[in-house]
Amino acid sequence: MKQVLEFEKPVMELREKIAELKKFTAESDMDLTSEIETLEQRLVKLEEDVYGNMKPWDRVQMARHAERPTTLDYVKELFTHFLEFHGDRLYGDDEAIVSGVAKYKGKPVTVIGHQRGKDTKENIRRNFGMPHPEGYRKALRHMKQAEKFNRPIICFIDTKGAYPGKAAEERGQSEAIARNLMEMAGLRVPIICIVIGEGGSGGALALGVGDRIHMLENSTYSVISPEGAAALLWKDSGLAQKAAETMMITSYDLKKLQVIDDIIPELKGGAHRDVALQATEIDHVLNQSLQELYDLPKEELLEKRWEKYKQIGDYSTL
């Protein structure tokens, strides 16, 4: 079952109509080629109109699309020799985060990312991509290893947030996130972070301290989910759509707020239309970022990382 989002229904309907007409032409001897052509032209226009004018809420829906490619989908496209490694050596293995080593254009890298499931069964196993402390601690263990062996780190961000559960609190969710922020600040290897879906608050940030932060065009990055913001601010989670607009959570907003470096363009209709093609867009930006960072002296790398985050914020001085 293909998931169709509300705002893209007109596109889908027209597409179906064209497919029907094509089928009809093939099966009967009526020639509808010119009608089909007209409709196809209209489709191009309609697609441009619909996907070119996406509202923040449309992008939220797109970022949460059931078929949206996950970390492992991109890993398959972008890297070779990927080996996944498990466990934080302290408590357990959190499958909401995948982590391992691979080669990128022939050079070793460490790859880490939030991992949602593709179906209910996998989602339960992966806790819908919402990590516990052991997930963040596994990630940190692998980051330290990357530093030791001088491999760049690539993080894919795709989570609703760190899991709000009893066990997570008992095991130190706050400390796990805080520790990652602090330790990532000092890692003496390049770190590239790419938001591929939802960048949900501290749970996203804990994989998000890097020398370059990029976002897929239809991904979001926010301090709180639109539903959460609406509930807190207006005591009504039904106002999520309004919150999505107010809170400035799209890639364009974050670029404007000078939080991210690049927006990675998405295919018309979203990344899930063609994972391989979408991966080439990521590849382009990733490659460029690594080229810029590979040969930077370590001290300069860290200094620039600090300067990058130091300037984020809006205030005035009397």
């Binding site: 009893k166 520790r179 301290v209 301090v223 707020l257 984020i312 809006d314």
Partner: protein
């Protein structure tokens, strides 16, 4: 209008309970929310806002905290002149900030500076939960990061007292990024050999507990303080079970290994001073 004359509009305003509680401190007497005994405000103040009957730790303003810890006339305040902006164009945001500014006499939800504690010079940041629930926006993040940087430059320790509901919603992702900014500042300070002590007071939650509050060289808390990442209600909704009463209290965190000590307010100065003494003042290697 004649219609208005007949309307059954209530003639009184109802005050939500929380606010009603807050109003009492302005008066002469104050009721302890824990044991319900009533005390003279002055008596309570003299006791560092700790209930003389049941030891309940009432919240302290930033100024009260500073006065209770630092030697007289040694306090120097930093960055009072940084002012909040409204990056998302959030309705009524600046008005609310202005109101809290007037109410508290502070420019934002944290006071930073340096002072001497029994002669030991130390930089500090003290959060004030009366100001937008102590939430962290750009100014709070910037002030804390600058205080840490100054501690690094001046080679003195850094002590933070947290009291915060977390990141400030009205500044969106910029608030979130203050977690990173402050954490990087701490990392740089730590690499230079700087001593950081974190004291979590009621409440320390969300983005503040998930950044600087939890990564001191020593992490302490006051008794009964609420400390945690996610809100209790959200957790209960998620896992559909009731949580133990002591969930996310300082004592709960101590039990689960996340704190070095829970320190009574009366003992705070002594423990901190002893620790500074053990660190021989906490000066960083040159």
């Amino acid at each position: 209008m004649l219609k208005d004359f007949f309307s059954k509009k209530k003639k009184y305003a109802s005050i939500p309970r929380e606010e009603a509680k807050q109003e009492i401190p302005e008066g002469l007497m104050q009721k302890c929310p824990n044991c319900h005994k009533i005390f003279y405000r002055k008596e309570l103040k003299k006791n560092l806002n700790v209930c003389p009957n049941c030891s309940f730790h009432h919240q302290m303003t930033a100024r009260e905290r500073i006065d209770s810890l630092f030697d007289e006339h040694t306090f120097e305040e930093w960055d009072q002149n940084i002012i909040t902006e409204n990056p998302l164009g959030f309705p009524d945001y600046l008005e609310k900030v202005e109101k809290d500014r007037e109410k508290t006499g502070l420019n934002e939800a944290v006071v930073t500076g340096k002072g001497k504690m029994q002669g030991f010079e130390t930089a500090f940041a003290v959060m004030d939960s009366r100001f937008r629930m102590g939430s962290m926006g750009s100014v709070v993040g910037e002030k804390i990061a600058r205080a840490i940087e100054k501690a690094k430059e001046q080679k003195i320790p850094f002590i933070i007292f947290t009291a915060s509901g977390g990141a400030r919603m009205q500044e969106g992702v910029l608030s979130l990024m203050q977690m990173t900014k402050t954490s990087i500042a701490i990392k740089r300070f730590s690499e230079a050999g700087g001593l950081m002590i974190s004291v979590m007071t009621h409440p320390t939650t969300g983005g503040v507990s998930a950044s600087f509050a939890s990564i001191g060289d020593y992490n302490f808390a006051e008794p009964g303080a609420l400390i945690g990442f996610a809100g209790r209600r959200i957790i209960e909704q998620t896992i559909r079970e009731e949580l133990p009463e002591d969930f996310q209290t300082a004592e709960f965190l101590l039990k689960h290994g996340h704190l070095d000590q829970v320190i009574e307010r009366q003992d705070m100065k002594e423990v901190l001073t002893t620790l500074l003494d053990i660190h021989e003042g906490g000066a960083q290697p040159s």
